[in-house]
């Protein structure tokens, strides 16, 4: 059984079709990169896996998305627990206006955990997982906004890890960061792979090549090609993919 699977997914915003019959299967403990030009539907596709698209007015979703073999768009799905199982990281670092500690503790608190000792332990392990502990251990009570952009983004990843999800969705997680912070996040992705299933949307093709095991190329709402990253970047099967990754698009 695959960790994530989409079958015949069609998404409409009003009258425009954002995704056309998307079928992808993603194995556990792999990194899958979604690439394609702006507006190709890759972000929309990413947000299907934690039903974040539900927030958009006038969206229509057809087809099935399976997480651990269960169709999450079925009636009666507990969206909160689905999302608890799915960490999400965004384009711009977006820590909450709280202390560093409370940012990471947030997910635990909203899920009803009150045992302070447990929370403290979990916060520490989560921050250690993103290799941020040494940088922030003396200022856990300070505002998260005092951190640099790269640190903030790692904090946001720690925030997502604290609730122990099995899936991490990343929406262009390094597009607002400098190259060194970017390299740190990429390294982190590589390490997190052993424990989590990661799906990452990126505009940076080198990044997709560096961090992912599989790559899906979207264009105008269609899945043009999905395959092993090494093959996509050395010998893509479709000409459109070739033109896109070699920068000859259009």
């Amino acid at each position: 059984m695959q960790k994530l699977e989409s079958r015949h997914i069609n998404v409409h915003y009003g009258t425009t079709q954002a995704l056309k019959d998307i079928n992808i299967g993603i194995d556990a403990n792999t990194v899958t990169a979604l690439i394609g030009p702006s507006g190709c539907g890759k972000s929309t596709y990413l947000r299907l896996f934690n039903r974040m698209n539900d927030l958009i007015d006038g969206i229509k979703i057809e087809g099935q998305i399976f997480v651990d073999g269960k169709d999450i768009y079925e009636k009666g799905t507990n969206v909160d627990s689905l999302r608890k199982n799915t960490g999400m990281v965004f384009q711009k670092p977006n820590p909450f206006p709280k202390t560093i500690f409370e940012n990471v503790a947030y997910g635990l608190r909203v899920n009803g955990i009150t045992d302070q000792k447990f929370i403290e332990e979990r916060v520490e392990t989560s921050i250690q997982q993103v290799v941020l502990w040494d940088e922030v251990k003396d200022k856990l009570k300070k505002s998260a906004f005092e951190l640099s952009g790269g640190q903030q983004q790692r904090l946001c990843i720690a925030r997502a890890l604290a609730i122990q999800p099995s899936i991490i969705l990343m929406d262009e997680p390094t597009s607002a960061l400098d190259p060194i912070s970017t390299a740190k996040i990429e390294e982190l992705i590589h390490e997190l792979k052993t424990k989590y299933t990661i799906v990452i949307v990126t505009h940076n093709m080198q990044q997709a090549a560096r961090v992912s095991d599989h790559t899906a190329f979207f264009y105008l709402g269609e899945l043009v090609e999905f395959g092993i990253t090494k093959e996509i970047f050395t010998n893509p099967k479709r000409e459109k993919t070739q033109n896109y990754i070699t920068g000859r698009f259009g």
Binding site: D57, K84, G87, M88, N94, S143, R159, A160
Partner: protein
Amino acid sequence: MKTINENKLAISKRRSQNIAFFLLGFLGYFIVAILLVILSFIVIKGFSVISWDFITKMPEEGMTKGGIYPAIIGTLYLVAGSMLFAFPIGVLAAIYMNEYVKDGFVKKFIKQMTNNLSGIPSIVFGLFGMSLFVNKLGFGDSILAGSLTLGLLVLPIVIRTTEEALKAVEDTFRQASLGLGASKWQTTRRVVLPIAFPNIITGLILSVGRVSGETAPILFTVAAYFLPKLPTSIFDQAMALPYHLYVISTSGTNIEESRPIAYGTALVLVLIVLITNLLANALRKFFGKKVKMN
């Protein structure tokens, strides 16, 4: 030939730019000048009567002498009362509108109605307040009735500023919170409101300024012509600065003699509004720093 034309063009471009700059600058300073004229007019005329006694004593001798203490206290009560009423309702309504209702007919309808509400002249609010709160609900001329009427008046302002403040919160904050399994209400209360707070405060202060200066809505609902004692309950009548000012300038026992007191009252009123505005800015900066975006 061409270069000459280009030079000409450059000169004419620069000239029109200079004219525009001059006009815009002039208008900007003109507004400042008007404000300064009004302020200095009130300060010059009113400053001489301001004293510790003036703001802490009861009015005397048909309001030609003495202080304006009960009017200040009355206004503060009305501000506090109307805010207690309008702020929670307004903020909750705005939260409902912005966070819960999906785009569509209902939202548009509520929005339009809110806008209409803010367009109604304040005297109409006064009449409505009189018939509903004073007569129908039997509150009589009282701080309660006046506060509720003023509250209704500023409700649209509170709703609209709060809505704007909530809209300014980036969606990714909501998504990040929801993505951690938080409920919508947890997200709103713990993430969205703290971020929007500085801007909501601004709306609050704006409405304080509005409330403290209104005369018409309190005319029939609370304001006492002359009441040389402090209110003891919310069902008491009270004096209020704007109404006091109106009374002693138009229908007092001796208008000429109470003129300086009128200017003094005006100055106090202006100062209250000014101070609340400064306070608002300070609060905004203070909270703004806490949630500063990078």
